[in-house]
Amino acid sequence: MSHVELQHITKNFPGVTALEDVSFDVKDGEFFVLLGPTGAGKTTTLRAIAGLEHQDAGSILFDGELMDNVTPSDRDVALVFQQYSLYPTMSVFDNLAFPLRSPLRRTSVEEIRKKVEETAEILHISHLLKRKTAHLSGGEMQRVSIGRAIVRSPRVFLMDEPLSNLDAKLREALRVELQHLQKTQGSTTLFVTHDQIEALTMADRIGVLNEGKLIQVGTPEDIYDRPSTTFIAQLVGSPRINLYNAQQQDGTITICDSDIHMPAPKDGKLPADFQVGLRPEDVDLDPNGIFSGQLVLAEPLGVETILHIQSNKCTLLSIVPGISTYHLGDLLKFNIAYEHIHYFGLNGDRFKS
């Protein structure tokens, strides 16, 4: 396994800048997730590391070794595609054996058979080995595709939204399996996704990419608790963060168009106009709460219920565990955890605290 380093990668496509001065590193044995919306440049980053795309500027290093002019086959990385890309003319066994049969590796027939069977065992696809890939379900295809990556020991695993074409239940199951696999094999993994849940649950570290720029790199806690911009605050977390314009006057913060007035933090560095972000779990229902609002919508999810509470013209989301017994139109009292409020400037950047 290897330590991967990207230095100031820039890539332009006709008419668009796909990546702009992107630098980060993936440490040996780390599960690194690149998170971002569609078109953010996640896949381009992955392809640049695999050598399928050549960056216009910057360098890529594996263990300090410059990779810029190394062909994809010599980089020894494994890539799991979103569309699986299993070789359609081959059986599952041949698909798994394909990387081992590369002239670069010269694996003996006996060893290929052993490794393929081991891999199939790990991914629970032993019974499928003789099948043609066209006769597999989506989940089975993705397992084979992951198997094709882990059958050899590459320097880095690159995964391009491998779970996004699967249905929700299967995605959850494979998510756990992937995480388990990565931890037991200690492999360096770069995982690309637009799904914040995948990012938060699996990552050791997350890099958030938007419009070709890397905005924040940090642990899932960093990203969730200290988002560096309103974009990240909104991208991560479900239900979404309550984000509203606010004003400060004489040490009191007023959330625009609402009856909510809060004391400003003591350090008093806030300007007159800014934005506040409030995670739904920081809006606590409390019969003795000092704020109140009307329940306008409830979304019961089973394990929790999302409540939409209206205060004047502004609607705050809150969550309560289990199925709530409140009725629409009820007046609810709540408190706000002041210490967890996120303060952002009008340009979207977080105020340093």
């Binding site: 062909t71 086959s73 494994a78 890539l79 569309q83 890309s85 590369s102 670069l104 590796r105 094709r148």
Partner: protein, 332 residues
């Protein structure tokens, strides 16, 4: 009242789902389609049938009006086609008939129409020329076309669209227009009446077609497969042979058949640019008209023999062709 199993559902099931529950009307529709297909096929095949029948008719049967459908088959046509003969003088004929000796089937057949076999005709050699020229040029144009199509499909090439247009433009005027300049050119180069000259000519003509056709098929193959192979430790060329080629088989088969049919049937260039050594079958069949009356059975036999190789190739490749000639329109 008849049971449901016998009559089928009350409303017609137009799409046959389960064979035991198809409405009789749907069955009728299906057999109607089959019959219609058979009739159309029969109409299409009539000229070929007439040709086959003519090839096995005797000279008298061919010219009888109305045409005979039932007749006594003979191999006279093939005798005329494959042998060079001379007429017996009446006295020699008497002697030969009186004392046949050890004559083989063909000699006996010739004797029965009063002729003597002097040796094989030119036709055999010309059919051989056709096989060599059409076969080699087809293989060359498919291989060259495949690599060119791959490059056009996968790589950034400066002026790609212009180049493709230029390649196509070689097809934009009828070939006959350039026969005179080509004739002069070939005369200068010494390629006149040579196999190599004809192979190059047909390859050039087929190349534009095969590049365009194959490019369509290769465009259909998602590039991710090759990228996966590249990452898995293969070079581009290895990925081409291991991944692209097996998936392009249908397209290659379709292209092969079309190129072969063109090269095999080509008449105008062969007539102008070949005379003896490299003359192909099509012009030689045509020249059978003329010297000493119309030998219809020989012409029919010649056409039949000429048809068979292409028919065999098409038959061998039929499974790929069925998928290939849809030009990737339905394959998704």
């Amino acid at each position: 009242m008849a049971s449901f199993e016998e009559t089928g559902p009350r409303t017609p099931v137009v799409e046959p789902t389960r064979v035991d529950k198809v409405h009789p009307r749907a069955k009728l529709g299906k057999s109607f389609r089959v019959i219609l297909t058979l009739i159309v096929t029969f109409i299409m095949i009539i000229p070929v049938l007439v040709m086959i029948m003519t090839a096995f008719k005797s000279r008298a049967d061919i010219v009888t009006p109305p045409p005979k459908v039932l007749f006594h088959p003979t191999l006279e046509g093939f005798l005329y086609l494959f042998t060079d003969r001379s007429l017996f003088s009446p006295s020699n004929l008497e002697a030969a008939r009186a004392n046949p000796g050890n004559l083989d089937y063909w000699q006996k057949l010739a004797l029965s129409v009063g002729q003597k076999i002097n040796g094989p005709s030119d036709y055999v050699g010309r059919l051989k020329n056709s096989v060599i020229i059409a076969g080699t040029s087809t293989i060359l144009s498919v291989i060259l076309g495949l690599f060119a199509a791959y490059a056009f499909s996968r790589f950034k090439i400066a002026g790609k669209d212009d180049l493709l247009f230029f390649i196509l433009s070689t097809r934009m005027l009828p070939g006959v227009v350039v026969t005179i300049p080509l004739f002069l050119l070939y005369k200068q180069l010494g390629w006149n009446d040579t196999h190599i000259g004809m192979i190059i000519l047909y390859t050039v003509f087929n190349l534009s077609f095969s590049v365009w056709l194959l490019k369509g098929f290769i465009d259909e193959i998602p590039i991710e497969y090759e990228e996966a192979a590249l990452v898995d430790g293969y070079t581009r060329l290895q990925a081409f042979f291991k991944i692209v080629l097996p998936q392009a088989v249908n397209g290659i088969a379709a292209t092969t058949v079309f190129c072969l049919i063109f090269a095999w049937n080509e008449y105008a260039f062969a007539l102008m640019l070949t005379s003896q050594k490299a003359r192909t079958a099509p012009p030689s069949i045509a020249t059978m008209l003329g010297s000493g009356g119309l030998e219809w059975s020989a012409i029919a036999a010649g056409s039949l023999g000429f048809l068979i190789p292409v028919a065999i190739v098409t038959f061998v490749l039929r499974d790929y062709l069925l998928r290939g000639v849809t030009f990737g329109a339905v394959r998704k």
